[in-house]
Symmetry: C2
Subunit: 405 residues, 2 copies
Amino acid sequence: MTTGPVAASRSKTRGVVLNLIRAGRTVSRVELAANSGLTPPTITQVVRELMEYGLVVEVGRGTSTGGKPPTLLQLNPQARYSVGVLFERNICVVVITDLAGRPVARTSFHGTELLPPEQALPLVASRVEALLGTAGVERDKVLGVGLVSYGPQDRRAGVLLSPQPTAVWLGYPIAPKLSELLGMPVMLDNDAAAAAIGEYWLGAVEQGSTYGCVYMASGIGGAVVSAGEVYRGSSSNSVEIGHISIDLNGEECSCGNFGCLENYAGPSAVIRQAFATDGLARRLGLDPLGIDCLADFALIAAAAADDPTARELIERSARHLAVGAVTMATLFDLDLIVLAGSSFAAAGPTFRSLIEREVQRRCFARRAHPVRVVQSVSGSDAAAIGGAVLVLQSELAILDPPRPA
Amino acid sequence: MTTGPVAASRSKTRGVVLNLIRAGRTVSRVELAANSGLTPPTITQVVRELMEYGLVVEVGRGTSTGGKPPTLLQLNPQARYSVGVLFERNICVVVITDLAGRPVARTSFHGTELLPPEQALPLVASRVEALLGTAGVERDKVLGVGLVSYGPQDRRAGVLLSPQPTAVWLGYPIAPKLSELLGMPVMLDNDAAAAAIGEYWLGAVEQGSTYGCVYMASGIGGAVVSAGEVYRGSSSNSVEIGHISIDLNGEECSCGNFGCLENYAGPSAVIRQAFATDGLARRLGLDPLGIDCLADFALIAAAAADDPTARELIERSARHLAVGAVTMATLFDLDLIVLAGSSFAAAGPTFRSLIEREVQRRCFARRAHPVRVVQSVSGSDAAAIGGAVLVLQSELAILDPPRPA
């Protein structure tokens, strides 16, 4: 959320103009002035700087509205690149995006959850280096790395405040250490916030929308974006909908709250319910040590193939998730909810229709405006792509990327 | 929430400067430039305009830091006034505040809930006129009226979207009609949002805080303020915590959701529970037709006097409210929760300590920062005072108050 004082810094101005050029695909200086509220001389000056940096190029002339046809500007997407790393309990996804936020390369791998940080982070770093090599992206064109993971976090310090995957990670300076290994700036952020802002950058959400993202991978998180900015709250540990209580009689959660949504609707809960259902696990060949993400889970396939028991478990998860989605829509007054993360990539349609029905029936502001529910355009890579986008969006980094000594 | 483009309008600049002068009590032009990020020439120009309007006065000189001691500026609180009207199911509160947001007169009355709009609004208008007369406030110094009430609302059109107190109010243009009767601009807003912003203006909340307000009068509402701005969402119908579900097995609420917090913790629910408790209503002399607000309710007095049954009912309400408060703090990542509204004015201490204990134990971001819970500094007038403050804050109104023809 932007705050009070009026005078915007130079870099903020550049970021606003760059973002308008990106969003507009091709745009004239006159349109930029109209859309930004900045004066024509400021636009001329900022565009000159962006062209000097090679970020923006002229691409011919538009239609005349009387006088000389205006010169059109376009982003130069190959001018810079960004890396997004999703660090999950059981999977890592690495993507490289161009300056427009479009993925140009990706890889994913399992196994970091078994390693202490001193071994896991060099593995992540080597995968990033390898992907840059494969994609033929020069290091000095890389603005930095957006490392995204679950909360709570100390975002500024780049430290996880959660004992996940294991207790040694609690308080570990994950972003500074990865930065040291890669010799690049690394920003830590929340996975759901990244997924949400990625949707916006990739044009899947209207500019003025106030929308929420429900992010389900191995756990359940959330984020809210209003007019293109992530709602941050006091410490960027906001919208943790997996840990709101939906059941007065619920049991205590490891987070300290009770009756937490994640323990009813999350992948671990659904798998627990599946193993507690007579014969189901054996019938479907479920692996008790399998990965706790619905996307990788035979239950989804069985539900899709109309196994009534499997289907009931998935629908139960969706109904519980809908309770959280209604709470989120009622508190943040949302007009859209995006479902993102690997669990929705596979089972999305079931969740989407059920959650939309409940939100439209129960959300407090439904008399004021409709609330739609959609699936992410980025599938299970949403958070990693969003991590790269968060680096792009950090307009200081765009023009003055700190470089390793 | 403020949005993208950088260039601020003139009126926004004036509003920022006026607000800094208000908040600083006495302040120099140099300090204003430093605190606003505006250039010294802009500050000089804006201060000149504010002095021409009589809103700001010079009040002597500060301490020299080498050169000439700086001239100090101060708000002229008697330059303008604002009216706040709380329109509740069963009570109306009218306050007049000066330009600093300090109440200079107030009145309250019951009975509008029994009247159709055509009779209720003339009654409200006559009370406003009478209070202006009693207080000796000239009409042409009144910037306007902040009319605050429950949601949902169409804030721009000034229309209630709720069938409260009776069905005829649903869709009724309450703000335009009151404006017509009074010959003054009337802004409609949410009661909890008003209470929250009032706390900020009256200096009870730190400038950078992200805080929530739980507002309990005849119902339960909420609001969130971040860096001095109310979180609005898509249609200003946000943070309706009375209508989030806290109980998976709860019954359907008239709002369309089920297991709604208000039906467990709200005044009507507590009174219902009291009448369902053997002998309690008779013992305490409760009036079944009494006003459904805990502040006016003998139960509070009995609980305070250590009646164990009464006390258990109040504490049960507080425990349920704490569930909603934890959800609000976890989703909005709050560092402070303010309890406002008439129900807390009386029973506040019990609620405060119990809610604070639960929030500090269960809120997701508690490892990142503490979360405090406090009572409103404005007692049961918080929303009405906040309504007046919302008019003051609307910086356009401050310098160019629309006048009746």
